[in-house]
């Protein structure tokens, strides 16, 4: 039971990390997510059902997400429309494409196939299956976290952060911001689709509607994480994304289990998630005002200590 929440949360955390790359690092409100998570689920499922290998299925999921991100970024670059609109376009088009990938079925079960989770269970035969699944997904998330952390410490990764902070600075550094956007949004959606590919295997089916409401859930995960601690270090940002994702899934679990006591059903979850995001925004705006005040105080204090410096 408890393991289930963690597995669910960890799969979700890969998506949250992907959303952080677009929304937070690049300051690009990308809604492609809802389409790419379903696309990843669809392509991984179809590949596995047809007897393909799991590694290839996950790679395909990443690739299809990266392609979707590329389309969004190119629409945004070429037609100078806001990222938000470009993402909605891709997301909508993906809805049809995903049904095509699934052979025009709305739903494909994976129950008879060997999934990633079956494999790890076989790998640890002495462990209960839920614990084995948990270990498997921890390893995957850890690998992704380490790769993302390293990437954002490279010169290229830093220039992606600079793009989010100040596009003019990136241009002044002689970097083509259009290429950076293609790269960053592809990477983000690749991770999101990978998360979809794992989710389909865990829940045992792919579904054309899988992505519905995912972006708001992802934002809720991000914001819960941001409540835990504040940091500008990428390793801590990805860590809190993982924790935020798990806490979000735990809250949803509690809602499902005890919600009936206060007449809440799973039908209400989208509303509640939205309210959670709004409350988070409200608290965060109060907090950032307070921290700006104290940062200013500190800065003044420090510069008073060294007269002659620039204030």
């Amino acid at each position: 039971m408890l393991e289930g929440i963690f597995v669910d949360g960890l799969i979700f955390s890969i998506m949250v990390i992907g959303i952080i790359i677009s929304f937070r690092v690049m300051d690009f409100a990308d809604l492609t997510c809802e389409g790419s998570v379903a696309a990843g689920a669809a392509i991984a499922t179809v590949h596995i059902v047809n007897g393909g290998s799991i590694i290839v299925a996950l790679l395909l999921a990443f690739l299809v997400g990266a392609m979707a991100g590329t389309v969004t970024a190119i629409i945004h670059n070429k037609f100078k429309i806001p990222g938000l609109l470009a993402g909605i376009l891709t997301m909508t088009m993906l809805y049809s494409i995903n049904l095509r990938i699934m052979g025009n079925r709305a739903n494909i079960p994976l129950l008879k196939s060997v999934t990633f989770f079956d494999k790890v269970e076989n790998f640890f035969p002495f462990l209960p299956s839920s614990v084995a699944s948990l270990i498997g997904i921890i390893l995957v998330v850890l690998l992704i976290k380490i790769l993302v952390d390293i990437f954002f410490r490279t010169d290229l990764g830093l220039s992606l952060g600079a793009l989010g902070g100040n596009e003019q600075m990136v241009i002044s550094q002689g970097i083509n911001p259009e290429y950076l956007k293609i790269m960053g949004i592809s990477f983000s959606n690749g991770l999101i689709a990978l998360s979809g590919g794992l989710l389909a295997q865990y829940q045992g089916f792919a579904d054309g509607n899988l992505g519905q409401g995912m972006i708001v859930q992802g934002l809720a995960g991000i914001m819960i994480g941001e409540f835990l601690f504040s940091s500008n270090k990428i390793s801590l940002i990805t860590l809190r994304a993982i924790l935020g994702a798990i806490i979000y899934k735990a809250l949803m679990f509690l809602g499902r289990k005890y919600g009936y006591l206060i007449h809440i059903t799973p039908n209400d979850f989208k509303l509640l998630t939205g309210i959670l995001v709004i409350i988070s925004l409200w608290i965060a705006s109060g907090r950032s005002k307070a921290s700006a005040r104290s940062a200013k105080k500190n800065a003044i204090h420090r510069s008073l200590e060294r007269t002659g410096d620039i204030k």
Binding site: G161, N166, Q168, I171, Q173, G174, N176, I310
Partner: protein, 262 residues
């Protein structure tokens, strides 16, 4: 170094908002020249810089950089030769990143690789570079925490680090309080001299424009109305400059934004 031929910029052509911001300007800036640009508000100084940098496309005319026609070259490619500092101190740095991350991003121009260049050797270099602006202990602070003066000084440092051949400074001290403006300006002059840069600098301070630099250009209503260098510039005074303006324009100079700051 920079050659501008018959440059014209019209905003919103063919509409009721049509605005001729630059009208048939020609200008040749040689290597090592330090050009102060003055002129009243709306005379086209920033537009000229935006066209040289490639932020805006030209309506007509030609921009040549070191014998190469760059009129159609995108801004990010011209940026490899051009360093630019804006009036707004937030435009040159990324507030969401630390000082060291900003510096490492600025330390080379062009597309970045998957190398991790930031290491302790670089950090020590950065600390040393930051001493003149008093930020040597704050490598790991986010740039968003800095004051306008500190940010502009950091922008200057970053611009110089990336080794441009020309720098374009657009009233880059105008948003700072007098003391910080002086510090940033002193640093600017020091770096220009040290690195033998070619520079164009928009300033609102006539006295400064007369004393400093090798050449002075005055713009008005999208045209260059006065251009002086060498001995003639050395003999220039504020009174003479105002006299010249009066003769050309046939009107008194209006004191907008303290252009007469002396």
């Amino acid at each position: 170094m920079i050659e501008i031929n018959n440059l014209t910029k019209v905003f919103y052509p063919g509409t009721v908002n049509e605005k001729v911001a630059l009208e048939n300007i020609s200008l040749k800036v040689d290597e090592g020249e330090i050009v102060c640009v003055i002129g009243s508000n709306g005379s086209g100084k920033s537009t000229l810089f935006n066209l040289i940098s490639g932020t805006y496309s030209v309506t007509n005319g030609q921009i040549i950089f070191k014998d190469k026609d760059v009129t159609k070259m995108p801004e990010y490619r011209r940026a490899k030769y051009i360093g630019r500092i804006f009036q707004d101190p937030t435009k040159g740095t990324a507030a969401n990143m630390t000082i060291e991350d900003n510096l490492i991003t600025a330390s080379s121009k062009g597309w970045k690789s998957l190398k991790i260049s930031l290491n302790n050797t670089r950090r020590k270099e950065f600390s040393k570079l930051l001493i003149p602006i008093g930020l040597q202990d704050r490598l790991k602070d986010n740039v968003g925490l800095l004051s306008g003066g500190q940010r502009q000084a950091l922008t200057l440092l970053m611009t110089i680090m990336s080794n441009p051949e020309v720098i374009l400074l657009d009233e880059h001290t105008a948003a700072l309080d007098p003391r910080n403006a002086e510090i940033v300006m002193d640093l600017t002059l020091k770096y220009i001299a040290e690195k033998n840069l070619t520079a164009m600098m928009v300033t609102h301070n006539m006295k400064f424009a007369i004393e400093f630099g090798t050449r002075l250009i005055m713009m008005d209503e999208g045209k260059i109305i006065f251009d002086v260098k060498g001995e003639d510039k050395k003999n220039l005074t504020v009174d003479k400059l105002l006299e010249i303006f009066k003769n050309i324009k046939n009107e008194e100079f209006t004191n907008d934004e303290g252009l007469l700051n002396v």
